[in-house]
Symmetry: C2
């Protein structure tokens, strides 16, 4: 029997506060402690999504994390980040950890889960991933019937991206950032550029949809995506 | 300027009624007409998920649809299914169409979208897909950092499944049904059986998690999945 507080990892979705689930909202409002990350010197995106739902009587725990962190470096940072969260759990306080998108799908919560779930009762609430929200925001039916979908992080080597794109029906290329030009050139090379649609910060108030060849490669944020929907006709 | 009612395609998530989004709930409760599908002679799964949220004053439109329908056959069935929905839209009534999971991710709403969105104002609300909910229900961190995720429908030929599984970091094999034995044998052949976890009807009151080699192939439902999480260590 585990003792102490309960740990909740809740997906807060891609950006629109209305895309929180009812379950995430209930757990968020009931928790005495709310934890979230941000990149250094920037406000937390996850906290921004849920700010209107916070009760005003909650303890908040912030931990800083560099963007696009390499796994080896992440380990020591998460070892430290875990400590104030574990301290609340140890004295019996429940802690909700906010996670953009879905906690187990490229989500930062996984690092906390592996460190704390053996010791404390843990519950995870799935969230709307930007991989689901972006095709909807673009008005593009994404996959159907026996389509294969491949989710490809843009930092992968060009030859890996090419091989994968040639073998799939639909794709989401995520984490574009400074890898945008490489990806755009590959899409032209493969004849996929006309089907590929670019979107950044889907469902937020700063959402932008830009034609692929009009995107300024110097201004592509980490939270951007290229969606290649199925070409199969419905 | 389009006239008539507004068409909403809303994802109702994988099964747990609390995994509806706040936006889906708001639109659902405001709509005078609610439409949903079911397999012949069975209650609608999507309606079951939201039944507690219906106001009691809503017109309901049901259309029947065979499971695992081939696209060519689907076309004529959807041509017919669209008619009562279009009739409500034509006289100015908003219609919410319920969709299990996410509307544009293997969702039945895409067939309605392609037939009606040119004529009527249409809004789509993303939902939690079982592909996101199943790793969470299994307690398996799914993908991180530069992992590739591949979503594979089980009806695909064995050689396609093998090629794809060899080239990816993480996978969800969906729509198992009568294709279970083929998939299980492939997973053993590729040395993936120990990492592969089986779940059916994730997040519903009938959710079942069964060790891969203890699954009865004759009783595998369409709403089942095998999750292969990343092997990369966090």
């Amino acid at each position: 029997m585990k003792s102490g507080g309960r740990l909740y990892g809740i997906g807060v979705g891609p950006g629109d506060p209305e895309l929180l689930t009812l379950k995430a909202l209930r757990l968020l409002r009931a928790a005495p402690v709310v934890a979230y990350q941000s990149a250094s010197d920037r406000p937390s995106i996850a906290r921004g999504i849920v700010s209107q739902y916070l009760t005003g009587n909650q303890i908040e725990v912030l931990y800083h994390l560099p963007r696009a962190l390499e796994p080896e470096k992440a380990k020591s940072i998460y070892d430290q980040a875990v400590e104030p969260i574990a301290a609340h759990l140890a004295v019996g306080r429940d802690v909700v950890v906010l996670c953009e998108g879905d906690p187990f799908f490229y989500g930062s919560f996984m690092y906390l889960f592996t460190r704390l779930s053996d010791q404390y009762e843990t519950e995870v609430v799935p969230g709307i991933s930007s991989v689901m929200a972006s095709p909807v925001a673009l008005g593009l039916p994404f996959t159907y019937y026996t389509d294969i979908l491949t989710v490809l992080p843009a930092p992968l080597p060009a030859e890996v991206l090419i091989t994968q794109l040639l073998a799939t029906d639909a794709a989401a290329i995520i984490k574009l950032g400074r890898h945008f030009t490489k990806v755009r050139d590959i899409l032209h090379q493969l004849g996929l550029a006309s089907r590929a649609k670019y979107i950044e910060r889907a469902t937020t108030s700063q959402q932008r949809i830009v034609p692929l060849d009009e995107v300024n490669p110097d201004e592509v944020p980490y939270f951007s995506m290229i969606v290649i929907p199925t070409k199969n006709k419905l």
